[in-house]
Protein backbone atom coordinates (compact mmCIF):
# COMPACT_ATOMS: atom_id res chain seq x y z
CA UNK A 1 0.00 0.00 0.00
CA UNK A 2 2.58 2.53 1.09
CA UNK A 3 4.29 2.46 -2.28
CA UNK A 4 1.15 3.74 -3.99
CA UNK A 5 1.17 7.25 -2.66
CA UNK A 6 3.81 9.88 -2.15
CA UNK A 7 2.64 11.59 0.99
CA UNK A 8 0.11 11.07 3.71
CA UNK A 9 -1.20 12.80 6.84
CA UNK A 10 -3.70 11.93 9.53
CA UNK A 11 -5.70 14.16 11.84
CA UNK A 12 -8.05 13.34 14.68
CA UNK A 13 -10.04 15.97 16.51
CA UNK A 14 -13.14 16.43 18.64
CA UNK A 15 -16.40 17.25 16.87
CA UNK A 16 -16.56 20.88 17.95
CA UNK A 17 -17.67 23.49 15.45
CA UNK A 18 -14.62 25.66 16.02
CA UNK A 19 -12.54 22.80 14.56
CA UNK A 20 -14.20 23.31 11.14
CA UNK A 21 -11.76 26.10 10.30
CA UNK A 22 -8.83 24.11 11.73
CA UNK A 23 -9.66 21.09 9.55
CA UNK A 24 -10.03 22.94 6.27
CA UNK A 25 -6.90 25.01 6.85
CA UNK A 26 -4.85 21.93 7.79
CA UNK A 27 -5.93 20.02 4.67
CA UNK A 28 -5.37 23.10 2.48
CA UNK A 29 -1.84 23.44 3.90
CA UNK A 30 -1.17 19.75 3.12
CA UNK A 31 -2.61 20.17 -0.40
CA UNK A 32 -0.50 23.23 -1.09
CA UNK A 33 2.52 21.04 -1.95
CA UNK A 34 0.67 20.19 -5.20
CA UNK A 35 0.78 23.88 -6.14
CA UNK A 36 -2.96 24.39 -6.51
CA UNK A 37 -4.39 27.67 -7.81
CA UNK A 38 -6.20 29.97 -5.39
CA UNK A 39 -9.46 28.69 -6.82
CA UNK A 40 -8.57 25.01 -6.40
CA UNK A 41 -7.53 25.69 -2.82
CA UNK A 42 -10.85 27.45 -2.14
CA UNK A 43 -12.70 24.43 -3.61
CA UNK A 44 -10.81 22.04 -1.34
CA UNK A 45 -11.42 24.16 1.76
CA UNK A 46 -15.12 24.40 1.01
CA UNK A 47 -15.54 20.65 0.44
CA UNK A 48 -13.65 19.80 3.66
CA UNK A 49 -15.72 22.30 5.61
CA UNK A 50 -18.95 20.72 4.33
CA UNK A 51 -17.86 17.17 5.21
CA UNK A 52 -16.62 18.10 8.69
CA UNK A 53 -19.80 20.10 9.41
CA UNK A 54 -21.85 17.03 8.42
CA UNK A 55 -19.93 14.89 10.95
CA UNK A 56 -20.63 17.44 13.68
CA UNK A 57 -24.31 18.17 13.11
CA UNK A 58 -25.52 14.94 11.51
CA UNK A 59 -23.06 12.21 12.53
CA UNK A 60 -22.72 13.21 16.16
CA UNK A 61 -25.73 15.55 16.36
CA UNK A 62 -23.68 18.04 18.37
CA UNK A 63 -22.51 15.47 20.90
CA UNK A 64 -18.83 14.76 21.49
CA UNK A 65 -17.18 12.39 19.06
CA UNK A 66 -13.95 12.01 17.12
CA UNK A 67 -13.59 13.09 13.51
CA UNK A 68 -10.77 11.51 11.57
CA UNK A 69 -9.14 12.87 8.42
CA UNK A 70 -6.66 10.91 6.33
CA UNK A 71 -5.24 12.73 3.35
CA UNK A 72 -2.95 11.33 0.69
CA UNK A 73 -1.19 12.62 -2.36
CA UNK A 74 -0.73 10.44 -5.44
CA UNK A 75 1.01 12.17 -8.37
CA UNK A 76 -1.21 15.23 -8.92
CA UNK A 77 -4.21 13.95 -7.01
CA UNK A 78 -5.27 14.86 -3.49
CA UNK A 79 -7.36 12.29 -1.68
CA UNK A 80 -9.16 13.15 1.56
CA UNK A 81 -11.04 10.67 3.73
CA UNK A 82 -13.25 12.17 6.44
CA UNK A 83 -14.93 9.81 8.86
CA UNK A 84 -17.00 9.75 12.01
CA UNK A 85 -18.37 6.96 14.17
CA UNK A 86 -21.72 8.66 14.58
CA UNK A 87 -25.24 7.68 13.67
CA UNK A 88 -24.75 7.04 9.94
CA UNK A 89 -26.91 7.99 6.96
CA UNK A 90 -30.13 6.03 6.41
CA UNK A 91 -30.71 7.05 2.82
CA UNK A 92 -27.56 8.11 0.97
CA UNK A 93 -29.42 8.84 -2.30
CA UNK A 94 -31.69 11.28 -0.48
CA UNK A 95 -28.81 12.89 1.45
CA UNK A 96 -27.01 13.59 -1.86
CA UNK A 97 -30.00 15.38 -3.37
CA UNK A 98 -29.54 19.14 -3.80
CA UNK A 99 -31.59 21.13 -1.28
CA UNK A 100 -32.52 18.05 0.78
CA UNK A 101 -31.85 18.56 4.47
CA UNK A 102 -32.97 16.77 7.60
CA UNK A 103 -32.15 19.92 9.56
CA UNK A 104 -34.11 22.76 7.92
CA UNK A 105 -35.03 24.00 11.41
CA UNK A 106 -31.46 25.26 11.90
CA UNK A 107 -31.29 26.93 8.47
CA UNK A 108 -29.25 24.22 6.78
CA UNK A 109 -29.53 24.55 3.02
CA UNK A 110 -29.14 20.93 1.95
CA UNK A 111 -26.30 21.89 -0.41
CA UNK A 112 -23.41 20.18 1.40
CA UNK A 113 -23.04 17.09 -0.79
CA UNK A 114 -23.85 19.06 -3.95
CA UNK A 115 -20.98 21.43 -3.14
CA UNK A 116 -18.58 18.55 -2.37
CA UNK A 117 -19.52 16.89 -5.66
CA UNK A 118 -19.12 19.97 -7.78
CA UNK A 119 -15.92 21.23 -6.14
CA UNK A 120 -14.10 17.88 -6.06
CA UNK A 121 -13.54 15.44 -8.93
CA UNK A 122 -14.86 12.41 -7.11
CA UNK A 123 -16.93 11.92 -3.94
CA UNK A 124 -17.69 8.54 -2.42
CA UNK A 125 -19.99 8.02 0.56
CA UNK A 126 -19.91 4.89 2.73
CA UNK A 127 -22.24 4.76 5.69
CA UNK A 128 -23.66 2.21 8.09
CA UNK A 129 -26.52 3.25 10.35
CA UNK A 130 -25.33 3.18 13.95
CA UNK A 131 -21.66 2.80 13.00
CA UNK A 132 -20.70 5.93 11.15
CA UNK A 133 -19.92 7.56 7.82
CA UNK A 134 -16.82 7.88 5.67
CA UNK A 135 -16.56 10.36 2.82
CA UNK A 136 -13.70 9.92 0.36
CA UNK A 137 -13.03 12.80 -2.01
CA UNK A 138 -10.43 13.26 -4.71
CA UNK A 139 -9.28 16.32 -6.53
CA UNK A 140 -6.88 16.45 -9.44
CA UNK A 141 -4.67 19.50 -9.28
CA UNK A 142 -4.06 20.65 -12.81
CA UNK A 143 -0.56 21.57 -13.81
CA UNK A 144 -0.46 25.26 -14.68
CA UNK A 145 2.13 26.46 -17.15
CA UNK A 146 4.17 29.23 -15.48
CA UNK A 147 3.31 31.88 -18.10
CA UNK A 148 -0.41 31.25 -17.67
CA UNK A 149 0.08 31.45 -13.92
CA UNK A 150 1.68 34.92 -14.23
CA UNK A 151 -1.31 36.07 -16.27
CA UNK A 152 -3.72 34.71 -13.68
CA UNK A 153 -1.85 36.49 -10.91
CA UNK A 154 -2.01 39.77 -12.85
CA UNK A 155 -5.76 39.41 -13.21
CA UNK A 156 -6.11 38.59 -9.52
CA UNK A 157 -4.12 41.70 -8.59
CA UNK A 158 -6.18 43.93 -10.85
CA UNK A 159 -9.23 42.64 -9.03
CA UNK A 160 -7.84 44.09 -5.83
CA UNK A 161 -6.81 40.93 -4.06
Amino acid sequence: MSGLYENEMKLEFVSKSNNEAFARIAVAAFASQLDPTIEELADIKTAISEAVTNCIIHGYENTKGIIKIVSKIFANTLEVEISDTGKGIENIELARKPLYTSKSNIERSGMGFTIMESFMDDVNIESVVGLGTKITMRKIIKKVDPQEEDKMLDVAELGGR
Binding site: E20, I38, E39, A42, T53, I106, E107, M111, T114, V155
Partner: protein, 106 residues
Protein backbone atom coordinates in the same frame (compact mmCIF):
# COMPACT_ATOMS: atom_id res chain seq x y z
CA UNK B 1 -19.53 41.90 11.76
CA UNK B 2 -20.17 45.63 11.68
CA UNK B 3 -23.43 47.28 10.81
CA UNK B 4 -24.40 50.86 10.02
CA UNK B 5 -27.93 52.14 9.61
CA UNK B 6 -28.47 54.99 7.17
CA UNK B 7 -31.54 56.75 8.56
CA UNK B 8 -32.24 58.77 5.39
CA UNK B 9 -32.41 55.73 3.09
CA UNK B 10 -33.65 53.32 5.76
CA UNK B 11 -30.79 51.10 4.66
CA UNK B 12 -28.87 48.74 6.90
CA UNK B 13 -25.30 48.08 5.75
CA UNK B 14 -23.93 44.86 7.16
CA UNK B 15 -20.24 44.31 6.71
CA UNK B 16 -19.35 40.70 7.41
CA UNK B 17 -15.78 40.47 8.64
CA UNK B 18 -15.37 36.77 9.37
CA UNK B 19 -15.22 33.47 7.48
CA UNK B 20 -18.75 32.10 7.20
CA UNK B 21 -19.06 28.44 8.23
CA UNK B 22 -21.45 26.54 10.49
CA UNK B 23 -19.48 27.70 13.55
CA UNK B 24 -19.61 31.40 12.67
CA UNK B 25 -23.12 31.41 11.18
CA UNK B 26 -24.95 31.02 14.47
CA UNK B 27 -23.39 34.08 16.07
CA UNK B 28 -23.66 36.11 12.88
CA UNK B 29 -27.33 35.26 12.52
CA UNK B 30 -28.03 36.47 16.06
CA UNK B 31 -26.16 39.73 15.59
CA UNK B 32 -27.74 40.52 12.22
CA UNK B 33 -31.25 39.70 13.45
CA UNK B 34 -30.70 42.05 16.39
CA UNK B 35 -29.82 44.89 14.00
CA UNK B 36 -32.78 44.14 11.72
CA UNK B 37 -35.24 44.11 14.59
CA UNK B 38 -33.80 47.29 16.02
CA UNK B 39 -33.85 49.36 12.79
CA UNK B 40 -36.61 47.73 10.71
CA UNK B 41 -34.73 48.68 7.51
CA UNK B 42 -36.31 49.01 4.08
CA UNK B 43 -33.14 47.66 2.53
CA UNK B 44 -30.31 45.45 3.81
CA UNK B 45 -26.98 45.36 1.98
CA UNK B 46 -24.50 42.62 2.90
CA UNK B 47 -20.90 43.57 2.16
CA UNK B 48 -18.71 40.49 1.54
CA UNK B 49 -15.48 42.39 0.92
CA UNK B 50 -13.82 40.96 4.05
CA UNK B 51 -15.24 37.45 3.69
CA UNK B 52 -12.39 35.25 2.50
CA UNK B 53 -14.26 31.95 2.95
CA UNK B 54 -17.85 30.76 2.93
CA UNK B 55 -19.41 27.29 2.78
CA UNK B 56 -23.04 26.20 2.56
CA UNK B 57 -23.73 27.60 6.04
CA UNK B 58 -23.74 31.00 4.32
CA UNK B 59 -26.64 29.97 2.08
CA UNK B 60 -28.95 29.22 5.01
CA UNK B 61 -27.74 32.27 6.87
CA UNK B 62 -28.43 34.68 3.99
CA UNK B 63 -31.74 33.08 2.95
CA UNK B 64 -32.94 33.18 6.57
CA UNK B 65 -32.20 36.91 6.79
CA UNK B 66 -33.80 37.46 3.38
CA UNK B 67 -37.03 35.85 4.62
CA UNK B 68 -37.00 38.02 7.71
CA UNK B 69 -36.39 41.28 5.81
CA UNK B 70 -38.97 40.25 3.21
CA UNK B 71 -41.53 39.80 5.95
CA UNK B 72 -41.13 43.40 7.09
CA UNK B 73 -41.38 44.59 3.48
CA UNK B 74 -37.70 45.20 2.80
CA UNK B 75 -35.23 44.14 0.09
CA UNK B 76 -31.79 42.53 0.31
CA UNK B 77 -28.65 42.94 -1.78
CA UNK B 78 -25.11 41.56 -1.62
CA UNK B 79 -21.94 43.28 -2.78
CA UNK B 80 -18.18 42.62 -3.11
CA UNK B 81 -18.68 38.86 -3.39
CA UNK B 82 -15.53 37.08 -4.56
CA UNK B 83 -15.65 34.38 -7.25
CA UNK B 84 -15.35 31.36 -4.95
CA UNK B 85 -18.31 32.55 -2.86
CA UNK B 86 -20.31 33.73 -5.87
CA UNK B 87 -20.09 30.16 -7.23
CA UNK B 88 -21.90 28.90 -4.13
CA UNK B 89 -24.62 31.54 -4.41
CA UNK B 90 -25.11 30.73 -8.08
CA UNK B 91 -25.13 26.96 -7.65
CA UNK B 92 -27.72 27.12 -4.88
CA UNK B 93 -30.01 29.58 -6.68
CA UNK B 94 -29.51 32.29 -4.01
CA UNK B 95 -28.15 34.69 -6.65
CA UNK B 96 -31.49 34.49 -8.47
CA UNK B 97 -33.40 35.75 -5.42
CA UNK B 98 -30.88 38.15 -3.91
CA UNK B 99 -29.07 40.41 -6.37
CA UNK B 100 -25.27 40.62 -6.24
CA UNK B 101 -24.61 44.24 -7.19
CA UNK B 102 -21.05 44.25 -8.50
CA UNK B 103 -18.40 42.15 -10.17
CA UNK B 104 -15.15 41.50 -8.40
CA UNK B 105 -12.21 39.36 -9.37
CA UNK B 106 -10.73 36.47 -7.32
Amino acid sequence: MNSVFLERDKTLLVEITEEIDHHAAEKLRRKIDESITRYMPRKVVFDFNKVSFMDSAGIGMIIGRYKMVNMIGGTVQMKNVRTSIRKIFEMSGVAKIIPIIDIRAS
